[in-house]
Amino acid sequence: MNSLLDVIIIGSGPAGLTAAIYTTRAALKTLVIAGEKWGGQLQLTSLVENFPGFPEGIEGPELMVNMRKQAEHHGAEIKEVNFTSGDFTKRPFVINAGETTYQAQAVILASGADARWLGVKGEAEKIGKGVSSCATCDSMFFRNKNVFVVGGGDSAMEEALVLAKVANSVTVIHRRDAFRASEIMQSRAKEEPKITFLFNSEIVEVKGEMRVESALVKNSQTGEVKDMPMDGIFVAIGHIPNTKNYQGIELDPEGYIKVQDHYKTNIEGVFTAGDVHDRSYRQAITAAGFGAAAALEAQRWLSTEGKVTEFKAN
């Protein structure tokens, strides 16, 4: 059992690392459980154009390296180990990560979300064999091929536009009768002649021997199932919050942390920030903002509880 920490932060995306910058600057002894794949979803993006302070944009991984350096500069300890479980039913809170058990007075849950797959028959074994979640990574392998993009949001439109540059045809397939993507992204996709749209339809099975050869597509209105030949399937259907093994923490039916006042969980002393609770904005800058708020509230709570003797005003 390790010594008692002031704050443990679960997650190392913009929310977790911003929280760490704030808690360490407040002289709170802070540990970040970063995960073996640290840095969150921005590690998997290319140019980020909407994070203020970078007029020409900044590469996602570079932004995360900078945030990490800034947190470490102020004294945050960052461990690249995976979170396994946390018990929030008693104080101090107990966190298991890697091979070690840690204890903390306060915890900030900023564990984010991961890309969601379709979860249909044949999909898992074809990931990397025609099933992908990253058009910018993989579009070159689909030159003059025919591909599906699954989803109806901005990221689905982006994937379709990237693929349209090289593929023979791109079919955007969506289970509803309308997209939720922004007007600008929808109209860009609709203006691209290689992109066609298939509404009220979902893939129910991925087929093929060595690689994707076709998909069974079900029309949700008629119930009709068609076997459609296809070389690739790009999945862009949103995210799943990482909230496994948070003992004592209330979640909503979809697994997001139930948040109050933008930063509180149902347990006093356990705060939350970023995509793990935020189903509305999901931006790097809002995650960072929520991270700062959660850290300030954790600091305030620790001082009112009398847990922190040394209090440094910033």
């Binding site: 995960g35 073996e36 794949k37 840095g39 590690q43 998997l44 993006t45 290319s46 590469e59 996602g60 991984p61 995976n82 990931i127 990397g128 064999k129 025609g130 992908s132 979640s133 990253c134 910018t136 990574c137 993989d138 070159m140 392998f141 689909f142 060595m210 690689r211 690739g232």
Partner: protein, 108 residues
């Protein structure tokens, strides 16, 4: 850095005829998840130095090899033993996953 750069030209000599097992990180400069796997592979090159030959192949410059092995997604790590591909890891996976398969490669 994993200092071995595999190419379509040196693939047969460096990979197929290698005495020790080989792992190849297929990547490209414009692939963001490749930047997650790259440093992991660099670390593993050091840890397994002398036991496993660890290197990288740029799929932009070496489309023939990537095509021959049916690579359709990067990053992909391919594991070779006695010139045969025996295992693979697709996508930005953790160091633990990539390392475990290297250990399997040495044991089998």
């Amino acid at each position: 850095m994993a200092d071995i750069i595999f190419t379509d030209q040196n693939f047969e000599e460096e990979v197929l005829k290698s005495d020790v097992p080989v792992i190849i990180d297929f990547w490209a400069p414009w692939c963001a998840p490749c930047r997650v796997v790259g440093p992991i592979v660099d670390d593993l090159a050091k840890e397994f130095s002398g036991k496993v030959k660890v290197g990288k192949m740029n799929v932009d410059e070496n489309q023939q090899t990537a095509g021959n092995f049916g690579i359709m997604s990067i990053p992909t790590v391919l594991y070779f033993k006695k010139g045969q591909p025996v295992d693979s890891v697709v996508g930005a996976q953790s160091k633990e996953v990539i390392k475990q398969k290297m250990e399997n490669l040495l044991q089998a």
